[in-house]
């Protein structure tokens, strides 16, 4: 297997992008990535795009061919594949691209992600997202994603003493980080009190514990590491890429307070990279709800099980501390266009490792990690990057 590197990145502004379409956004992110890598269309061997639900959000399927067309690559007949793993679609697109390059089958491959979610009503969007859960055994009985994560949160609070304030601190921190990120959906500081006084969605999760509905696209250009220096002065190596599955329904899990898919993907990625969790300098984790970030830092081995809330409260995960988590603002404050999220996470890590993250730059970041989850943990992807 060949070593794989990222030679170009691009990402649109995330948010309520009412003035642009899915096509506009994917073209914008794709052009940025291609220009960043200084490649031409003729050099591209394949495209992979993460998109959760174009069919529900914009009544458009066949996103693979669409993005090749938007990128002007249809006449070159470049193979283009849409991959789907709910909110982990972007991470999965990255992994497919990594496999294509690592195997030697392709050289220059685009990994992209895109979602246009604000063309439908909030109810339609919530139902499209609910399709990532077990429709027959969860949704038909009234469960929504906030409800599923609320159950996880309730048990985590009871078992480990995690508090509402600790969960709120995740949102406070991620909003603070987002204020320093020009592409973030929200540029507003919030307080713990703001979170706790915001409308309740599913007890104990308030609306400010939840990631928003967003539009956005992101793209990466991958190449074999041996060729990477030809295109980029600062290629970023992908030293670990792992994916794991778990039961689709939350109630079938071994343990409700652990996402085993994260645990397994994390272990496999760390083993591939030959590093320990403590070697990570900066990480983007899947904070679709504040409790999810607490689970993630535990399940990835950054802190002991049950200590995620306390670590957050003590500031361990804030910019300037030992392990800054979600410097982009995370899903919570940078926004969560579901198919694009996994690619945006890698985009943020590349900026950090290149030293180009501006005000939110982590000093001397050498090793970065991106963690992307589908549904309530049915799929997890972990990628590890080094300079």
């Amino acid at each position: 297997m060949r070593s794989v590197s990222i030679i170009g990145v691009g990402c649109t502004k995330f948010g309520e992008r009412w003035d642009v379409s899915l096509r506009d956004m994917i073209a914008e992110a794709g052009v940025m990535a291609i220009e960043d890598a200084e490649i031409t269309g003729e050099q591209i061997d394949a495209l992979y795009v993460g998109n959760m639900s174009g069919g529900r959000f914009i009544e458009q399927e066949h996103i693979g061919a669409l993005i090749a067309d938007c990128a002007g690559l249809s006449r070159l007949h470049v193979p283009s594949t849409r991959v789907e793993a709910a909110c982990a679609s972007g991470g999965l697109a990255l992994r497919q691209a990594v496999l294509a390059v690592a195997s030697g089958y392709s050289d220059i491959v685009i990994a992209a992600g895109v979602e246009k979610m604000t063309d439908v009503s909030t109810g339609t969007a919530a139902d499209a997202l609910a399709a990532a859960a077990d429709r027959e055994w969860e949704c038909f009985f009234g469960a929504t994603f906030p409800a599923l994560y609320a159950m996880i949160a309730k048990l985590h609070m009871r078992r480990y003493g995690t508090t509402n304030e600790q969960m709120a601190q995740v949102a406070v921190k991620n909003h603070h980080h987002a204020c320093m990120n020009p592409i973030a959906q929200y540029h507003m500081e919030i307080t713990i009190d703001d979170v706790l006084k915001s409308p309740m969605v599913a007890d104990p999760l308030h609306i400010l514990d939840c990631s928003p509905i967003s539009d956005g696209a992101a793209a990466l250009v991958l190449a074999p590491t041996e060729m990477a220096k030809r295109f980029s002065e600062e290629p970023i190596k992908i030293v670990g890429s792992a994916q794991a599955s778990d039961t689709l329904a939350l109630h079938d899990r071994r343990d409700l307070t652990t996402l085993d898919a994260t645990v397994h993907a994390g272990r496999a990625a760390f083993a591939q990279a030959g590093i320990e969790p403590r070697a990570v300098d900066v990480a983007e984790v899947h904070d679709c709800f504040t409790i999810a970030e607490i689970l993630a830092i535990e399940d990835l081995g950054f802190v002991e099980k049950g200590q995620g809330g306390k670590a957050t409260e003590e500031g361990m995960t804030a910019l300037g501390s030992s392990l800054p988590i979600n410097t982009s603002g995370g899903l919570k404050a940078c926004g969560h266009p579901v198919g694009a999220t996994g690619i945006k996470q890698a985009y943020e890590i590349v900026l950090q490792l290149r030293g180009k993250a501006g005000k939110r730059q982590v000093d001397e970041a050498e090793v970065g990690l991106a963690h992307n989850v589908g549904g309530s943990g049915g799929t997890a992807l972990v990628h590890i990057f080094t300079r």
């Binding site: 309520e16 009412w18 003035d19 909030t122 915001s198 409308p199 309740m200």
Partner: protein
Amino acid sequence: MVSGIVSYGVYIPRFRIRLDEIARVWGDGEEITQGLRVFEKSVPDLDEDTVTIAVEAARNALKRAKIDPKRIGAIYAGSESHPYAVKPTATIVGQAVCTSSSFTAADFEFACKAGTAALQACLGLVSSNLIDLGLAIGADVSQGAPGDMLEYTAAAGGAAYLIGSQDVAGEIEGTYSFTSDTPDFWRREGMPYPEHGGRFTGEPAYFKHVAGAARGLLERMNSAPEDYDYAVFHQPNGKFPVRVAKMLGFSKKQIEPGLIVPLIGNTYSASCLIGLAATLDIAKPGERIFVTSFGSGAGSDAFSIRVKDKIDDIRCGAPSVRDYIGQAEYLDYAMYAKHKGKLRI
């Protein structure tokens, strides 16, 4: 020639429902009413509709300036809740207020700005000397589906403006419109309640169009927010007009007299016209009023109005907006549902 408002009249049904009462039924918290900054809304009586409300407002306008209805050469009635899909509201109003038969009439629909569109049409006919007086009406018994956010604000009320070029009480110095195809809110044929695009009704709809029309008029008039004593913006809730005023550089003091939505809700086609009436109720000769409506779909009409001496002669001839706001009779949700025809037998 000076054209503008010769007289005005409003009508607001006396029934009210408090938003807390609606929230109680649907299990919503106080964050809803806090967020909307509306406390109660007007509710029509069992036998009130857009026509009866339009007639009351028109009668008040005629009464206020003691106008002979036979002078009216045009009646345009703007509403999104005309009782008939085919058969004009405007003709019923004309007959009810005893006009001659020598007038043109039509119903307007442009969501919440049909009333100001009617006003512009009358202004055109008056300014071109085709008619002596035009009657422009904005009236609605607006609909909000049970449990929908719209139900918290959809209210009932009407405003009528007599537009002419003699004895003008409010000179219309200029008007400017800003329009685009923006599907933020709609009701298709046969649908009982409108649908809306949620947050899409904000930035790309209300704020873009209101700011577009307001800035366009300020530029055309070569004027600035501080040149006006008062400003009135369409009031779908208590938050939007305050925010757009701030965006444009108008102060809270300028919008305060015309900000009536917290006490009566969103009267749709009548909303900013009632706000303007509340401002005319207190404005002094020489003062200037800046008005901008908004209708979903979407568009805004902005007006620059200079109050004339005549205002002092006509002001007390008919009930003021505050008179109507003052006479409130509160309903519980059950009676409200009956009044609004939400109960089907």
